[in-house]
């Protein structure tokens, strides 16, 4: 597979064309927007918590490329049904693998997120793939 095909795998294109967890988040203040200054991508992530503080799920509203949109979409699926602590751990595992802090093979144990393995060969696009995850971490209540 060419680098390009590694980058734009079918699962990524699918989540780009039909993003899951995407919503209008007009009620979320613009101060929550995270931007990628190199390309003008922007994303808002909203986290739902139960009244007693349990993580219920995340939604997002994004203007971005296929990589950042698909990453946000797959993120909402990957974190569903996890505890706050687990969500933080998943987010950091994903970010660390893409940044090269951890071996990229770490993504193999993360289901569909393994589709992002091809991104590490495109350093400029790592920011696209991790933008939603940074927005998620910021939207979570302090640990």
């Amino acid at each position: 597979m060419s680098d390009f095909d590694e980058l734009y795998q079918e699962v990524i294109l699918d989540h780009y064309r039909r993003p899951r967890g995407a919503a209008r988040l007009d009620h979320v203040p613009d101060s929550a927007i995270l931007e990628n200054p190199t390309c003008g991508d922007s994303i808002k992530v909203e986290v739902s918590l139960s009244p007693d503080g349990f993580f219920l799920g995340a939604r997002f509203e994004a203007k971005g490329c296929a990589i950042s949109t698909a990453s946000a979409s797959l993120m909402t699926l990957a974190v569903a049904d996890h505890s706050l602590e687990e969500v933080r751990a998943i987010a950091w595992s994903f970010i660390r693998a893409l940044r090269g802090d951890d071996p990229v093979e770490a993504l193999d144990g993360m289901g569909d997120l393994a589709a992002f393995k091809g991104v590490v060969r495109f350093p400029v696009r790592v920011k696209c793939a991790t933008l939603a995850w940074h927005a998620l971490l910021e939207a979570l209540p302090p640990a």
Partner: protein, 413 residues
């Protein structure tokens, strides 16, 4: 229209052979380099001049009492004289070497701005300015308590002179304007802007980073007060740029960086400054860069700026026509006077995805906000793809671009 129809003295294949990098392949494809507004490629003459300088003449300038020092100084000052002649400066002392257009504009903003601007004064910019012609002015405005005024653009991306007059206020001290837009390709009537500003007692700084590579620029014809450009966008090396300033203005301006070479004498009680232009060249300059820029000027003058302009106009006409045939393509900037820079989006495809697809086919374009976020906001888009041409590009490369765009539309569907 075949490439044979538009000739620049020598045939296009022969000219392309002057640029070693143009014969590179990217994956399975020959490189189609359409990112010239970011940086142009370098002819062998420039690479060799730089290499020859380091191999034969390298020494520090204005210091050494030895043969190499004299050769290096002569080569450096000869490059300055070439630049001066190239842009029509009256004196070589009006040519200051910098790292690039960005540094040149910062020099004027910091030196002239901090010395001359008073609280309440205004700096007039346009909506099409590059960040490098916005942020230095914001920095000096914050320090001096000045205002930034912005002339709006028309829907086609042109700058109507009445917008300058409309924005004008009595505090306006300087107009800083691009001669050609790095996004829209618009070429501004700088000569008319200069005459408006001078009638009202203000100065004009011209950001010529995107114009110098494409057509002959004459500072005395424009009557501009300052003009900035980068070597690397005009077939020269990176890290060398030019600030032109009228002598009497540069004379009156305080130095902006202190250090070696910019002084006449230094004592702990106080120091005095060197003559122009060295007053503004603290530290060891980019000597090899200046020599390379001199070689770039020799190279383009060998072809002729008029011939380059004609060739690029033909390429522009072809690109405009062919891009217009791509379904769903929105082109930003259709001003009547433009240089070969085309920014666009295709359907709902993000600029980065589009550029990545073109890269797969060996086509190098730029995607992003092009260091012009206020302009992007005005256009209502987060990013755009930009294809920018040089005289060495071909109609065949335009065909490849258009073909890849159509395929990308299907791919991202």
């Amino acid at each position: 229209m075949g490439s044979e129809a538009i000739r620049v003295g020598r045939g296009i294949a022969e000219l392309r052979a002057d640029f070693p990098i143009l014969s590179r392949r990217i994956g399975d494809f020959p490189l189609a380099y359409l990112d010239n507004a970011a940086t142009s490629q370098k002819p062998r003459a420039v690479v060799e001049a730089t290499s020859r300088f380091y191999s034969r003449s390298n020494a520090n300038v204005h210091r050494a009492i030895h043969a190499l020092g004299e050769e290096a100084t002569a080569a450096f000052e000869e490059a300055r004289a070439k630049v001066g002649r190239f842009i029509g400066a009256e004196k070589d002392s009006e040519i200051v070497f910098t790292r690039g257009a960005t540094e040149s504009i910062n020099l004027v903003a910091a030196s002239w701005g901090c010395a001359e601007l008073l609280p309440g004064d205004a700096i007039l910019l346009t909506e099409m300015e590059h960040h490098s012609d916005i942020v230095p002015w914001q920095m000096v405005a914050a320090r001096r308590g000045c205002r930034i005024l912005v002339a709006r653009l028309e829907a086609d991306g042109s700058l109507d002179l009445s917008r300058i007059e409309r924005e004008w206020d009595p505090g306006t001290r300087i107009v800083a304007v691009a001669q050609a837009s790095n996004v829209l390709g618009t070429v501004n009537d700088v000569k008319a802007i200069t005459s408006i500003a001078h009638e009202r007692g203000a100065l004009v700084l011209v950001d010529a980073a995107q114009s110098v590579p494409h057509f002959a620029v004459d500072v005395r014809d424009l009557d501009c007060d300052f003009l900035a450009f980068s070597g690397h966008k005009a077939y020269g090396p990176t890290g060398i740029g030019v600030l032109y300033g009228k002598e009497r203005l540069l004379e009156a301006m305080p130095p902006w960086m202190g250090g070696g070479d910019m002084i006449r004498s230094v004592a702990f009680e106080g120091s005095t400054w060197n003559d122009l232009p060295w007053k503004f060249e603290a530290g060891t300059p980019n000597v090899a860069g200046a020599v390379g820029l001199g070689a770039a000027i020799d190279y383009v003058e060998g072809i002729g700026m008029d011939a380059i302009g004609e060739r690029e106009e033909a390429l522009s006409d072809c690109a405009l026509e062919r891009l217009g045939e791509v379904e769903g393509l929105v082109l930003y900037g259709t001003a009547p006077r433009r240089c070969p820079v085309f920014s666009f989006n295709l359907g709902r495809i993000h600029a980065h995805d589009l550029a990545q697809y073109l890269d797969r086919d060996g086509i190098a374009v730029r995607a992003g906000h092009h260091c012009a976020q206020p302009l992007m906001r005005r256009l209502g888009i987060p990013a755009a793809v930009r294809a920018s041409f040089a005289f060495y590009n071909t109609e065949e490369e335009i065909d490849r671009l258009v073909g890849s765009l159509a395929e990308a539309a299907r791919f991202y569907g």
